[in-house]
């Protein structure tokens, strides 16, 4: 069994309570079509499990095959500085086929973030170290592609469709309760 080397912690982007019995962590790439498929599945899991589930996201951009993956990840990280990470995250996945600066700037405007600051951050690579740190933590935890999910620090090696993830999360919940 592959164990997460860096447990979900306060420096992560997470939705839901720290005390939730279930934590689902995704290592994802904004340009990866499989992550695009996983995006609505995670939303459905969040509404199914409610307060029992905390969801966290870490960056795992495959920049050589996905030319926009890095800039998209840095754009989402830029938004965290203004506490708009999740809105940006959702906007990027919901417009996955349009990744690129025009989209980033449109989303920034919608979220009332400074387009000038965003451009400066992307040019300077301000958030590149954060993205790389996420990537490397994934490499050391056995992330081998995207998306890779961890349920309470254990890698989920089965498929990631809704029914599989519900079953895996329910099983973990029962283990916790026992």
């Amino acid at each position: 069994m592959t164990i997460l080397k860096v447990p979900v912690n306060p420096s992560d982007h997470a939705q839901g309570s720290e005390d939730a019995p279930l934590t689902l962590l995704e290592y994802g790439d904004y340009e990866c079509p499989y992550c695009g498929l996983a995006y609505p599945i995670v939303k459905a899991l969040q509404s199914h499990f409610g307060e029992r589930l905390r969801f966290a996201f870490r960056n795992f951009p495959l920049t050589q095959i996905h030319p926009h993956a890095e800039s998209a990840a840095e754009t989402a990280e830029f938004a965290i500085a203004h506490e708009r990470f999740w809105e940006m995250h959702d906007g990027l996945y919901e417009n996955q086929q349009y990744l690129g600066e025009p989209l980033y700037e449109r989303l920034a405007v919608q979220l009332r973030l400074s387009v000038r600051d965003l451009r400066a951050a992307l040019t300077a690579g301000t958030f590149a170290p954060r993205v790389r740190a996420d990537f490397l933590s994934g490499v050391r935890s056995g992330v081998n592609g995207t998306p890779t999910f961890f349920i309470n620090n254990k890698r989920h090696d089965a498929r990631f469709d809704y029914d599989d993830l519900v079953a895996a999360l329910e099983a973990e919940y029962l283990r916790q309760a026992a």
Partner: protein
């Protein structure tokens, strides 16, 4: 299939084509750690396939002054097209003629006609430090490689 070579065994010498008109011999890399990544075939259909993943991790391998070599039975032109498409920044070697000969020497050739998804980390003297064979459909990631390189650097 003969048994896969294990830690402590000397890595068999080989010379394979790395481009249509260039060859690379393992002995040329003596003095450096070497990662041999045998894989079944170019053009794996999944996102984040093994070679693309290693391509992203390359800067970490280089911190350990390790050379990464991908090896499959695909021909040189196939490798060239694949490497260009995936923007790979490390050599892919063609174990093409006699087909799978090097994979056989390392004990990682399959009767179906391609090699296993097998990893070897060699020390600077060409001795195997670590080897691992992954189920054919499972990308083994890079965790084991980095652990082995860390041990060699210690």
């Amino acid at each position: 299939m003969s048994k896969m070579l294990q830690a402590g065994a000397p890595a068999p010498e080989f010379t394979l084509n790395v481009t249509p008109d260039q060859t690379l011999s393992l002995r040329e890399l003596r003095g450096r750690s070497v990662i041999l990544a045998f894989y079944p075939a170019d053009w794996s259909p999944v996102c984040g396939d093994q070679m693309s993943l290693y391509n992203e991790i390359l800067p970490e391998f280089r911190k350990y002054h390790a050379e990464l070599l991908g090896i499959s039975v695909d021909g040189v032109w196939c490798h060239a097209a694949f490497a260009k498409d995936r923007k790979l920044h490390f050599p892919l070697l063609s174990d093409f003629e006699p087909k799978g000969d090097v994979a056989r020497q390392y004990g990682v050739y399959r009767k179906e006609g391609f090699c296993e998804r097998a990893l070897f980390v060699l020390d600077k003297n060409g001795v195997i430090e670590w080897s691992y064979c992954s189920p054919i459909a499972v990308n083994p990631g890079a965790e084991g490689i980095l652990d082995a390189l860390e041990r060699l650097a210690a």
